[in-house]
Symmetry: C2
Subunit: 491 residues, 2 copies
């Protein structure tokens, strides 16, 4: 029945696409590289967004909104930033259309050319720091702790639903501080917030680390990141938090007078996660039957399906289902009672499995008699009959158990896929055959990184925080190294 | 102290701008016609957005997200729509920048020209109906009740913060139905949701009506609207809800098979409100000291300001303020305790008046002794000393009273500004001297509307719903008319 879904073994990439589309999360659109986020996918994103938003506010951040467009000249102000970002962008050159004088529909009005082209924001550091210049004068205006939820556009040649789309939704935090140390603390605090969210809500273990110079955000002094592992052994960067030093403050001339009335440039951070996280969620937990969503962020935590034949006791069953729905709702559980007549129970079972609803309750006529319900877990696919009495408490504790068991499963898989390698052949073989993170020595040069990337398509995902020092030799060059780093092929 | 704010009498337009900027809601940006929504303004928008979002969900709607870009050819599909919308848009023509070979920063790469230009959405009917084509096959897929929160861009020549900006935030509902009657019902339902929100949350009375053909949304069969009145006597369209008939279904070939398996085009509605509502809120309620926000959507409902001299009893006072803050929070009140040492109480008083915080609590040393607090209402500027005992209940009931009293005040003003006119000179004089809505007869022709608009800058705001029939003669042409309509100058 669920064979609309390709198996992971058969074609992992196709399996992923099937899950996203058949699971009701998103669809391709008529615009190259852009997707449509469908209601169920958007409800999932809302759960994620609202949870993160609360965590941001709990750590003292406020939301604001900055323009979609960035004047072209702004991008050139910070030298490293323009190198990293300015290239693949959507460029607005005109502001008017007109009727084609030859009668062929509408054309761009050549007379409505902008004096300076506008870039659809690929990220907002430049427009935001240009604004901060007017907001910050004194240490009293600091720290400035601001976040923005927005859409951004990066013109990608090869796109994949959620993982890499031309337009995507994200949040970007942009903070300003009086001292370097405070900014570094902020960047690390937000990395911890991200790790907390991904591990405790998305049930996905992450490795916290710092990027090498070549993998840093364009314009950053340090890029902190969290890296997660997908079921095919490829890594996925789930969030980044940047210490930007005074680079943007210098580029946009943002100075403040300190307590001694001395002028200095402001210190900055920026940090972001995006709808890419939805892709990570799909890839990390799904199986060949469909999505598996962790209870804490599942838009629907429990679905109730009545099972009846003809009209016999249909009303009694309906009443019972509504009572259960009401009591679960009262306990704060997100429950859906699917009483539609359009589809048979078997179809519904498969549908909610595809959609990854954590728990399914089925109630038939015999259940009515026995005062029981059939409870099915999506993650383990275990079914059992349980008494109606105490159902709400049972479900609450099951949801907690599912959340933790999904995390444990992902953690075991991840831990089993961090492998040490000390020789090139071993390294190559591990990448090709086992995948996952390879912990290996690296000589610290960008040249070596580049060669490894070219030869094996593997990159240094991060230098883990609190990495133990260890003398060794670079896996590629044999030159001395003082710590291992984590390599992987990645999304 | 608050003389950063121009008085309404002196310069109404400048007063409005001062309120928006000094009240901390928004600021101009470096991008022509685009604003920056500041944290306090965004917090206000969040209150409005979250309330509306709940109302949409309570009426069965789900959120989704569609692409920012619309292929140029899509706009031409619906003939009336392109006439109304296609002209003043941001047009993306290229997708890459490159380093200028002459070393002058970055330039648009002429080789990265799009085959078909993309329009930054001015509204999303076209891209959404192009998507609905793949979502709708049968009556079982209907109704489709979808809303989107998004940014849109309309290239405006003359912009004003919140009221008319090139980019703005809004929500757009797009629904699909099997029957015309059901779609009309939906359009009216959402009009009522808007009216409920604006009246009961924004404390602003509205007139529900339908637009004349010339004022209709481009592509609609009927445009329902709510119209509010500002303090300068000008009207402001606060929300619209459109019955689109089968126009977009035909343009994008969206058919469904009904219960009899007969194919028919789908019936549609769309409806939207935007950050423009923030402008309406400012204009309708503010005074010469600043904003006045209705409690139900004020980001901060109560501010607590401690008043001390030097260090005397500062700690005791601080403890007391924290206790009050905690008990108000526990009662669900949005409270801010401003204990900052940077500014004196007088400065804080003026600041929170500018920001329109509904209630201020001041506590000084004498209050500590007497177990009282000083309570000041923002709307009436009344102050009184009240006992600490029962403070929370007192505040809860005061907040309710303020909400209702703000509405009543706006209602009296609005009702006093609906005036009947039966002669042209009277009509002209009322518009110039009194303002507000003029209830007058109209001959039903677009020509008369056009002449009146040109001569007097007044438009027909709406034909009120449930308008009583009345025989009369057109205020301009003298031709026969069967009902009065509401004219006004408008934002």
């Amino acid at each position: 029945m669920s064979k609309e879904i390709t198996s992971r073994q058969e074609d992992y990439a196709q399996w992923y696409n099937d899950l996203v589309i058949r699971g009701g999360l998103a669809d391709y659109s008529a615009v190259r590289g852009c997707m449509v986020i469908k209601p169920y996918g958007f409800a999932l994103w809302e759960q994620m967004r609202d949870t993160l938003d609360r965590m941001f506010k709990d750590t003292g951040h406020e939301n604001a909104y900055f323009p979609l467009f960035i004047p072209k000249s702004f991008l050139s102000r910070e030298a490293a930033h323009v190198e990293g970002f300015a290239k693949e962008c959507a460029v607005v050159t005109h502001y008017r259309l007109k009727n084609d004088p030859d009668g062929n529909g509408i054309i761009v009005d050549p007379e409505a050319r902008l004096e300076e082209e506008l870039i659809v924001r690929p990220t907002s550091e430049t427009i935001i720091w240009n604004t901060y210049k007017t907001w910050i004068q004194s240490y009293r205006d600091l720290p400035l702790l601001i976040n923005q939820w927005a859409n951004v556009v990066r013109w990608e040649m090869r796109t994949r639903l959620f993982l890499r789309t031309t337009e995507f939704l994200w949040q970007e935090g942009h903070t300003a501080h009086a001292e370097a140390g405070e900014a570094i603390e902020e960047a690390r605090l937000m990395l911890n917030v991200y790790a907390d969210f991904v591990e405790n809500y998305m049930a996905l273990p992450v490795i916290k680390g710092v990027k090498t110079a070549s993998e840093r955000f364009a314009g950053a002094i340090d890029t902190y990141c969290i890296e997660a592992l997908m079921q095919d052994g490829k890594a996925l960067q789930a969030g980044t938090s940047h210490f930007l030093g005074q680079n943007f403050a210098k580029a946009f001339d943002v100075k403040f007078s300190d307590r001694q009335n001395k002028l200095d440039y402001v210190w900055a951070t920026s940090w972001g996660v995006s709808t890419r996280l939805v892709g990570a969620l799909v890839m990390a937990h799904g199986d060949d039957e469909g999505l598996i969503l962790p209870p804490k962020i599942a838009p629907v935590q429990v679905v109730i399906v009545p099972i009846y034949k003809g009209e016999e006791k249909k009303e009694v069953l309906d009443t019972r289902c509504r009572e259960i729905t009401a009591s679960l709702k009262a306990a704060g559980i997100r429950v859906k009672y699917d009483h539609s007549d359009n589809n048979r129970p078997g179809w519904k079972f498969a549908e909610y499995e595809k959609r990854g609803v954590p728990l399914r309750i089925a109630i038939g006529l015999r259940d009515l008699e026995n005062k029981t319900v059939e409870l099915a877990r999506r993650d383990t696919r275990q079914k059992k009959s349980i008494p109606e009495e105490g159902l709400t408490e049972h479900i609450l504790s099951l949801l907690t158990e599912i959340q933790s068991s999904m995390y444990q499963k992902a953690l075991s898989f991840r831990d089993a896929h961090i492998t040490r390698a000390d020789h090139w052949e071993e390294f190559e073989k591990l990448l090709d055959e086992k995948g996952g993170f390879i912990s290996a020595h690296w000589d610290g040069t960008a040249e070596t990184e580049e060669v490894i990337k070219e030869k094996l398509k593997a990159t240094i995902r991060c230098i883990p925080l609190n990495n133990p020092p260890e003398e060794g030799k670079c896996i590629y060059s044999g030159k001395p190294s003082r710590e291992r780093v984590l390599f992987a092929r990645a999304y």
